[in-house]
């Protein structure tokens, strides 16, 4: 007897997003349907304006759809209020941005600690979690450094540590290697792969770079706001 298939972590149904500019309606996503299983590493690719970043923003709960459902871990986040969404993001989403988005006045340690300040963890527990996250990205020795004292690759690794420190359900990465040279970008991708493989983290990554996309286990193309059929990445 076969076991019942587990429900997808991300289930998107008839998702549409359009922007209103004056009287003009500009559609970005039209009737998108997508499922992502827990533990997947998905790359979203597509030309500029295809809607891949918009889709990532909607999945991350930092934007609201015009219509459709986005269920993440069984919660339809399209129905949550702003306050509920903020709490939901804090508990479920780890962000990796193209330009790292670290707070320049905080040390690497303090930047990684940020998401934990929204939890009930004690100071000691927070410290342990932050150290573990910095160990994972091999930056424990740079904990007291400020972002401007770190290279681009190191800053992105701090951002990754910040993304995983609260053990989120899902990591969303928007062009994580877009601001890095080839070698440093490869190191960051190694790290994301490790997180997926060793910790079983579900990752949805937007990228322009076919080499970056090749690191993912699944490649999704978007064109003019619509999904084109799935394909396995070249390197998979």
């Amino acid at each position: 007897m076969n076991a019942a298939p587990s429900p997808p972590l991300i289930a998107i149904r008839e998702l549409s997003k359009a922007y209103q500019r004056g009287e003009q309606r500009i559609p970005v996503l039209e009737g998108v349907n997508l499922e992502v299983q827990a533990g997947e590493f998905v790359a979203l690719m597509g030309p500029s304006g295809s809607g891949k970043s918009t889709l990532l923003n909607l999945i991350a709960g930092i934007d609201k759809p015009t219509s459709g459902r986005i269920e993440i871990g069984g919660t339809d986040i399209a129905t949550l209020s702003e306050g509920e969404l903020a709490d939901w993001r804090a508990a479920n989403i780890g962000f990796v941005f193209q330009f790292y988005n670290l707070l320049p006045v905080l040390t690497a340690f303090e930047n990684v600690e940020l998401p934990l300040l929204l939890t009930r963890l004690s100071r000691g527990e927070r410290r342990r979690h932050v150290q573990a996250a910095l160990d994972r990205v091999r930056l424990a020795d740079r904990a007291e450094h400020y972002p401007n004292e770190l290279s681009g690759g190191q800053q992105q690794r701090v951002a990754i540590a910040r993304a995983i420190v609260s053990d989120p359900t899902l990591i969303v990465a928007d062009e994580p290697t877009g601001d890095l040279d080839r070698v440093t970008g490869a190191e960051v991708l190694d790290l994301l792969e490790q997180l997926n493989r060793e910790l079983g983290k579900t990752i949805v990554m937007v990228t322009h770079d076919p080499k970056a996309a090749a690191r993912a286990r699944r490649l999704i193309h978007l064109e003019k706001g619509e999904l084109v059929p799935d394909e396995a990445p070249a390197g998979a």
């Binding site: 930092i62 934007d63 903020a86 804090a90 962000f95 988005n101 998401p115 929204l118």
Partner: protein, 385 residues
């Protein structure tokens, strides 16, 4: 704790900008305090009045005297417990620049009516028995370096001739609001000398100072006194000492309103400068606020960050402004001498300086905080690229 640490770090991120804004605040809050103190100093004569003292003057004008004979009749009015009198002397000490108020008074009754002029017993006795004697307030004596026993010559302007007095005492004010810039001498000397020099009847006084038993009876006693002299050749106008002093202040009310308006304008200007600083700050950090919101921090947290940072800058700048007001006010008081008999930064003014700093901080952050709390995360993050 984290919020406090973050907003303190943010406040000093652009050190030059923060420093310049703080300098602006120091100047504005200090200027605000000094201008308010000037207005307070102007009103000090009013503040230092007693509710149990009335002043009776000629109903036509203060420049018209009243007969000394009125004193006994006023003393007989129900509710009056003591009467004294004084004349404005208007003499010049060395040069016109050394202006200070001089009054010819009936010494025993006058000093009894003004217990806030605290004289040593032996100095008081010496003054009372020496018709050529005079007493001066501590501030006035210190300004001119006078000591007890010094000879002080005044050149009369209203009463011609040179008038030489022996300083018999220096009084201290009972409190900080007591005017210590006055010079008092015997009315009898003025009267007798004037009679001799001008061969006229000199039994006239400028004003009567009347003590009443009950402050509440002031209107009634005033009416009774004025009724006594109704239809006489010198009708009287009696009012409380406060109303009498306010009459002088009213002469310069337009200037005082202008000074107060300037003090408010200064605060409005620094508010605009500070608001500009906070708006620039917020715009530069748009992506950071968006990042915080993406991580799960609420828009309210961003609002707290901006208000907190603005208040930190405003309170540090305003606090320094408040502190430097005190020595500047002291130096100013020394420089202007007896022009302002009492020039003290009052607790109320210090409170208003603090309040102005807080208001500047809050108002300056209001618009950027409102804008930043409403900007969408997606738009904020786009600001990076």
């Amino acid at each position: 704790m984290f919020l406090l640490r973050l907003l303190l770090k943010n406040a000093f991120r652009h050190r030059l900008r923060t420093l310049l804004t703080m300098i602006g605040l120091v100047v504005a809050i200090c200027a605000f305090g000094l201008l308010r103190t000037i207005v307070d100093a102007w009103y000090n004569g009013v503040e230092g009045t007693s509710s149990t003292r009335l002043v009776t003057r000629n109903a036509i004008s203060l420049t018209f005297p009243l007969p000394l004979a009125y004193a006994d009749r006023i003393r007989g009015v129900e509710g009056v417990s003591a009467v004294s009198w004084s004349n404005w002397f208007g003499g010049v000490y060395i040069t016109e620049r050394n202006f200070f108020p001089q009054f010819a008074v009936e010494p025993a009754s006058y000093l009894a009516l003004y217990p806030e002029y605290v004289l040593k017993d032996e100095e008081k006795k010496a003054f009372l028995i020496d018709q050529q004697g005079a007493v001066a307030g501590r501030k006035l004596a210190e300004q001119h370096g006078w000591k007890v026993g010094d000879q002080i010559a005044l050149r009369g302007t209203i009463y011609p001739g040179t008038w030489t007095f022996t300083l018999r005492g220096i009084w201290d004010g009972a409190d900080a609001k007591t005017d210590e810039s006055q010079f008092l001498f015997h009315w009898k000397l003025l009267s007798e000398t004037t009679r001799k020099r001008l061969n006229t009847n000199a039994d006239y006084v400028g004003v009567f100072v009347v003590r009443i038993d009950e402050p509440d009876s002031a209107p009634l006693v005033s009416q009774r006194i004025d009724a006594l002299f109704k239809n006489s050749r010198a009708e009287t106008l009696t009012e409380t000492e406060k109303a009498f002093q306010l009459g002088f202040v009213a002469l310069s009310e337009a200037i005082l309103v202008a000074v107060q308006a300037v003090s408010v304008v200064i605060i409005v200007i620094i508010m605009a400068v500070m608001a500009n600083t906070m708006t620039m700050t917020a715009r530069e950090r748009l992506a950071e606020y968006a990042t915080l919101k993406a991580l799960g921090f609420t828009p309210g947290f961003v609002v707290k960050l901006l208000f907190g940072e603005s208040l930190v800058i405003a309170l540090i700048g305003g606090g320094i402004g408040l502190v430097v007001t005190l020595p500047i006010a002291a130096a100013f008081a020394k420089a202007v001498g007896t022009l302002f008999p009492v020039f003290i930064v009052s607790p109320l003014t210090m409170g208003l300086q603090l309040l102005a700093s807080i208001v500047v901080g809050l108002v300056a952050a209001a618009w950027p905080a409102w804008t930043m709390s409403r900007v969408s995360i997606v738009n904020g993050l786009r600001h990076v690229g």
